[in-house]
């Protein structure tokens, strides 16, 4: 579903966080949003999914949302946002319970989503029994069960250790090869951006505006091939050169209280 960000600005009180963001996202495209901390990338994601209101501008869709999607804009959260009192299965089914859906179909969808994320044998486990990686898999299963048209990922791997992150990145790529959604992926990890995104949008520091939009010409599915390693490394270097100075400045800024 093509998505258009039309001159979106945002402010918290007097603090300007986003400044006239203009961006067109093609159907089925994966966009990575990167930038120094506090540049408003998570804010932009919140506006995209209707959880935050822009102070100016708007987000539009061209064409109707797909009919089989129960929740066109769906998030995957950094901290997983699982309900600790619900089992894995019940956490996934939360996304469907309020929809007019026959119970049989709901169960089938939940089972399919759990199978896709390798969680079938953990269906009745509780979040506290799971590792961080498995918890985020529950978050992914819950997002996929509604067949999202636009998947909004808010630093989905940042709370995980390096090895788990690698495993989940492989899983995400496998799932994405099968499921055709448009994706916006917020991250501060340049490697994730270089490996997962068709285009990388680099935001400046606060108030965030688009500094650069870079396309990676290697198809996402081929990025793990050794012959592209040099090109991807060069791409990451390029990204780092773009944000390094601003990241350093942002680091030395006093935090808001």
């Amino acid at each position: 579903m093509p998505l258009h960000v039309e001159g979106v600005s945002h402010r918290y009180g007097t603090l300007e966080t986003l400044d006239s963001i203009q961006l067109d996202i093609a159907d089925g495209e994966t966009i990575a949003l990167i930038g120094p901390s506090g540049c408003g990338k998570s804010t932009l994601l919140g506006i995209l999914g209707g959880l935050l209101q822009p102070s100016a501008g708007r987000v539009t869709l061209s064409g109707p949302a797909p009919r089989d999607s129960l929740n066109p804009f769906t998030y995957i959260f950094q901290d997983f946002a699982l309900l600790p009192w619900r089992s894995v299965e019940a956490n996934v089914s939360l996304a469907l319970e309020h929809r007019a859906l026959p119970a049989v179909e709901r169960r089938e969808r939940v089972a399919a989503s759990l199978a896709l994320t390798g969680l079938s044998e953990f269906a009745s486990a509780y979040p506290k029994q799971l590792s961080g990686g498995m918890r985020q898999r529950v978050g992914i299963a819950r997002a996929l069960v509604v067949r999202p048209a636009v998947l909004l990922l808010d630093e989905p791997l940042s709370a995980l250790d390096a090895q788990t992150r690698e495993l989940l990145m492989e899983d995400l790529l496998k799932i994405w090869a099968r499921e055709k959604s448009t994706r916006v992926y917020v991250t501060h990890n340049l490697e994730e951006a270089a490996r997962l995104a068709d285009r990388v949008v680099v935001l400046s520091r606060r108030p965030g505006h688009i500094r650069e939009i870079l396309r990676i010409d290697v198809p996402v599915a081929d990025r793990s091939r050794p012959e592209h390693a040099v090109l991807l490394a060069e791409f990451q270097r390029q990204l780092w050169a773009l944000i390094r100075d601003e990241a350093a400045t942002a680091d030395r800024e006093l935090q808001r209280v």
Partner: protein, 262 residues
């Protein structure tokens, strides 16, 4: 260095180690010392009767049915008072947790009235409801209401906002956000509040019964005191302690049943 020195261990300690028998040994030891002091005449039987005398008094009360009668009389005040206070407290506290307007309207009143020792209102409540049961029940209900209200809205505040945003992001209607996210998330705090409100109820029933009642454990303790029947008096105190322990145990069971996921 030519000689190999083993590294000195300097950790350890400051870790809670379970010692299952020690609490019982200390408990029994203290009772034993008390009994010994009574037997040797160190403690006067009038001012501090021996543990054995207290047990005998309890036994006698059990035989003639007075024990059950007083406990039942107290429970008939605690239970309705606690239920009324809890129901009202949850209604007000959860509203304050969910709606900002209810919070803004209720918080000053709750904060102003919470510190009043509720027993001070008993004379007023007696004027309103008479000397009988309703004034005592109302005192307990009032005493339970405030801590319940406060624990209910603080429990709502403790539910992570991102869980609520998650629910909204999946299109959950407001009532589902409340029923499926806010209330279950607030449950641990609400149940912890029950522990406080139940001890308030026990405190107030005794105080209320000392002011104007013929039956009930509080009245019994007061009467025993004025008749210098200290063994009976302490028997009443032991009863109250058992009652408090039973309530705490029951709430512990309830917490374990409702919060299995923790």
């Amino acid at each position: 260095m030519s000689e190999r020195q083993p590294i000195q261990f300097r950790g350890g300690g400051f870790d809670p180690v379970p010692r299952r028998s020690l609490p019982w040994v200390v408990f029994a030891g203290l009772i034993g010392l008390w009994q010994l002091a009574s037997d040797t005449g160190l403690l006067s039987p009038l001012f501090m009767p021996s543990p054995l005398a207290v047990v005998k008094a309890l036994h006698a009360l059990w035989i003639d049915g007075a024990l059950v009668g007083h406990v039942v009389a107290s429970l008939k005040r605690i239970v309705p008072g606690w239920i009324i206070g809890t129901a009202a407290g949850l209604a007000v506290g959860l509203s304050m947790g969910i709606f900002s307007a209810a919070r803004a309207a209720g918080l000053p009143i709750v904060s102003a009235l919470f510190p009043i020792p509720k027993i001070a209102l008993l004379p007023l409540l007696i004027l309103w409801f008479g000397i009988g049961e309703p004034s005592k029940i109302a005192t307990i209900a009032l005493g339970v209401f405030f801590p319940t209200t406060i624990s209910a809205y603080t429990a709502c505040d403790a539910v992570p906002r991102n869980l609520i945003r998650m629910g909204q992001s999946f299109g959950l209607p407001g009532r589902d956000v409340v029923a499926k996210i806010l209330l279950p998330g607030a449950m641990p705090g609400i149940l912890a509040g029950f522990r406080i409100s139940s001890s308030v109820a026990l405190l107030l029933v005794v105080a209320a019964e000392m002011i104007g009642a013929e039956r009930g454990v509080g009245a019994f303790v007061l009467t025993a005191g004025s008749l210098m029947q200290t063994d009976q008096l302490l028997a009443g105190v032991v009863l109250l302690s058992i009652l408090g322990l039973l309530i705490a145990w029951g709430l512990g069971r309830l917490e374990r049943a409702m919060l299995k996921w923790r």
